[in-house]
């Protein structure tokens, strides 16, 4: 018997979303599985970078029907100009993912635009635009060591984890690039954010080549390449700020599909009547590796430190439990899950979810086909719906919002707005700043409660009549109708509360991407690592493409 999915009222709370972990259905993993399964080929037709680190390189990925090229422009950035904030105007390296193989003319056109990022303009042959900055802590150290014929310090590599961090990866039509709709029909881009993930995967290869190249130019006689084990430990860092936070709220049908896929995977494993010994043994290894991972995961942010302490304690408790209670009997995974719901924190439960589905790729990986959403198809409002039905839907799906006092200063504390200066989403204090007139529609709970109140006095009849007289509710009526058929579409929490942490929204999305080692730097921006431990493009042909997110037990990371 298949067990039901978890209740959206449990799953879609901010604190739990903020405890999300990468898993088999994360977009980076979906990408690498496909590249491996389809025998994608990789080459580097151009690498022209001088001793100052200035020049360009082209990395190509060749799939069954299409080739894609990461065009990387490397720059000599004065240290005082290096900033990860979206307001920066210069970077250590800038990139675009090109649809096909670029000609010299393409590259010259892009050289005039890609290094300028937001100030430049690309075309439909470009699929993404991004940029990255060096890690001051690590980049110079690695080049110096390699030039001197020595390997970089392994501990420093583990502590920092990346040589460059991206500060924005723009896709889907941004800056003139191709819309997602233009390529979404290609199998390799059907799952979400595959363009962006491919871009970062190739960026990682470029950055590792770059440090070895710079070391060789600096000291041709003594320079060495990096030890493959150390190389592997380096991912691409990323700084993610408030700009990304509204995304999950602005894409309810898509969010629903991401969460539904994950919850379906969990339900399938929980529903298994028995657990084969090899799967149980694999699970035990993943738990041990997750413990190592939790130990390696560092953050100076007090909230994250509390979470890490909980996660480490949970994993120790889990191992203890497994020793006393073997995974056996009828629906053994469900028994384990039910224990976890009473014994572990949200961090531990969400980590366990990822670990439980890990040995069952054959059972859950097909769910990656369900991650995308036809958002346009869900846009049109059903005006014929009776007002009474709309009332019932709100009572059913927004009950968490209806019992809040939305007039209280605490519940209504924040305003999401876009600043004139940076044209980026910001979060402000309603009582302290004159920003309410600029409020973005990013608080569905309050809006649903206001709609519900106005519906109480509305005449029976179609929603169309109501909306003609109450156009201010059009936005939330659309959301309610989407949520009625997409139970995980809505974050069931107050997104403007005084105590709301934007980093919870960021982590939920970044975990879906496949990021790990979340390191909040404040309550509103977070550092992460992408593809840390993953094979490099040429390694995919002869290595496991899908066993890299947790450190190995043999002392690697």
């Amino acid at each position: 018997m298949t067990l039901p999915l978890r209740d959206p009222n449990t799953v879609m709370r901010l604190s739990r979303l903020g405890a999300s972990h990468q898993n088999r259905l994360s977009f980076m993993r979906v990408l690498l599985r496909r590249l491996k399964a389809e025998n994608w080929r990789f080459d580097r037709p151009v690498f022209k970078i001088d001793a100052q680190g200035v020049g360009h390189a082209v990395y190509c990925a060749h799939g069954p029907a299409h080739s894609y090229s990461l065009i990387a422009f490397a720059h000599d950035l004065p240290p005082e100009m290096r900033s990860d904030r979206v307001i920066a105007t210069a970077w250590d390296a800038t990139f675009t993912l090109f649809d096909g193989i670029p000609t010299t003319k393409d590259i010259e056109r892009l050289r005039a635009n890609v290094p300028r990022q937001e100030a430049g303009r690309v075309t439909q042959t470009e699929l993404s635009v991004s940029r990255a900055n060096r890690s001051v802590r690590l980049f110079a150290h690695v080049v110096e060591r390699l030039a001197a014929g020595r390997q970089p310090d392994a501990q420093t590599i583990t502590d920092v984890g990346y040589l460059m961090r991206t500060t924005a990866v723009y896709g889907s039509g941004k800056l003139g690039a191709a819309d997602r709709e233009a390529t979404a029909g290609r199998p390799e881009f059907r799952a979400p954010f595959q363009i962006e993930m491919l871009s970062v995967f190739l960026t990682r290869a470029f950055v590792l080549d770059l440090v070895e190249h710079l070391a060789a130019l600096r000291a041709p006689d003594t320079a060495v390449t990096m030890d493959p084990t150390l190389r592997r430990r380096l991912g691409i860092g990323n700084s993610t700020g408030l700009g990304m936070a509204p995304y999950l709220i602005n894409h309810p049908a898509l969010l629903n599909n991401w969460i539904t896929a994950r919850e379906t995977a969990l339900a399938r494993v929980r529903s298994l009547p028995h657990a084969a010994p090899d799967r149980v043994a694999a699970f035990h290894r993943f738990v041990a590796r997750a413990r190592l991972n939790a130990d390696l995961w560092q953050s100076n942010h007090p909230a994250q430190q509390v979470k890490l302490t909980a996660l480490r304690a949970d994993l120790a408790r889990l191992e203890g439990h497994l020793q006393g209670t073997p995974i056996s009997g009828v629906q053994p995974w469900n028994a384990l899950w039910q224990w976890a719901e009473t014994a572990l924190s949200e961090e531990g439960q969400e980590q366990l979810l990822a670990l439980m589905i890990e040995p069952y790729g054959d059972l859950v990986d097909d769910l990656s086909d369900t991650l995308s959403a036809d958002e346009a198809a869900r846009f049109a409002i059903d005006g014929a719906m009776p007002v009474a039905t709309l009332r019932t839907l709100i009572a059913d799906h927004y009950d968490w919002a209806l019992d809040q006092d939305w007039d209280s200063a605490e519940a209504n504390a924040r305003v999401w707005y876009v600043s004139e200066e940076k044209l980026e989403p910001r979060l402000g204090e309603r009582a302290e700043e004159p920003i309410e007139p600029y409020e973005q529609p990013l608080c569905p709970g309050r809006d649903a409660a206001r709609l519900f109140a106005d519906l109480k006095n509305a005449a029976d009849g179609p929603v169309a009549d109501f909306l003609l007289r109450h156009p201010q509710h059009r936005h939330i009526v659309r959301r309610v109708q989407i949520t009625a058929v997409h139970p995980y579409a809505e974050i069931r929490d107050n997104t403007i509360a005084a105590q709301m942490l934007p980093i919870d929204l960021l982590r939920a999305k970044l975990a879906c991407f496949g990021a790990g080692h979340f390191d909040p730097r404040s309550d509103r921006w977070v550092r992460i690592n992408m593809f840390r431990g993953a094979p490099f493009p040429p390694d995919l042909a002869h290595e496991d493409a899908d066993d890299w997110t947790l450190p190995t037990l043999e002392g690697g990371s």
């Binding site: 233009a182 700043e433 921006w525």
Partner: protein, 213 residues
């Protein structure tokens, strides 16, 4: 200049909000503008003129005052966004007979809504704007008459069509947006941005910690 449809949709949404539409209507404006560009029509120019024409007018002044009988606005011309939303919301009314709209500004902008209605009804809809007729199905669009003859301002009739007719329009994957229209839409969009204060600069994005390490 060539714009991606996503860029254009985002700009149209913000511009509509900047003109004072509610967020829900602004979203519809973005979709409708995108849909029209997807059929190769100069929706950005039409939207620009609409926003200038109806800037500052209340919804009640430009929306259909009632849906029984011909639709008309109390404050002058009907807004094609407000009327278009109604057309989609009341799509099933078309099964009982045509919907007549009196004096619609920039009626071209109705087409995206007609398409949503046709999709919902599963039947082609004929939209008559002056001497030009459009045949709109859930997936396709065709025209009878010359597009340049399309009036700026016109009475409009929407009715179910028995069968498809007209010359099929070709899908476009990009929007050609004139610099003039882009500048005006950007100016409307700009009204949605909050002026920065020193406090918001520091707190708004949570800066403060060095990001250069």
């Amino acid at each position: 200049m060539s714009w991606s449809l996503n860029e254009l949709e985002a700009l149209a949404r913000k511009a509509a909000r900047g003109r004072g539409m509610t967020w829900g209507l602004a979203e519809e404006t973005g979709r409708a503008t995108r849909a029209l560009c997807g059929w190769g029509m100069d929706a950005p120019s039409a939207l620009t003129k609409l926003l200038q024409l109806q800037d500052g007018l209340a919804h009640d002044a430009v929306a259909p005052a009632r849906t029984a009988g011909p639709w008309r606005a109390t404050g002058g011309a009907l807004c094609p966004i407000a009327a278009g939303c109604c057309l989609n919301d009341f799509a099933t009314m078309l099964r009982s007979g045509p919907i007549h709209m009196h004096s619609v500004a920039k009626p071209l902008l109705l087409l995206g809504f007609v398409q949503m209605a046709a999709r919902r009804l599963g039947q082609p809809v004929r939209l008559t704007i002056g001497a030009v007729q459009f045949c709109v199905t859930g997936d396709d669009m065709a025209v009878e008459g010359d597009l340049p003859d399309l009036p700026d301002h016109s009475d409009v009739t929407a009715a179910l069509a028995d069968a498809p007719f007209g010359t099929a329009l070709i899908r476009h994957s990009r929007a050609d947006v004139s610099d003039g229209a882009a500048a005006i839409l950007t100016a409307f969009a700009h009204r949605t941005y909050a002026p920065a204060t020193e406090a918001s600069r520091l707190a708004g994005a949570g800066a403060g910690l060095s990001d250069n390490d």
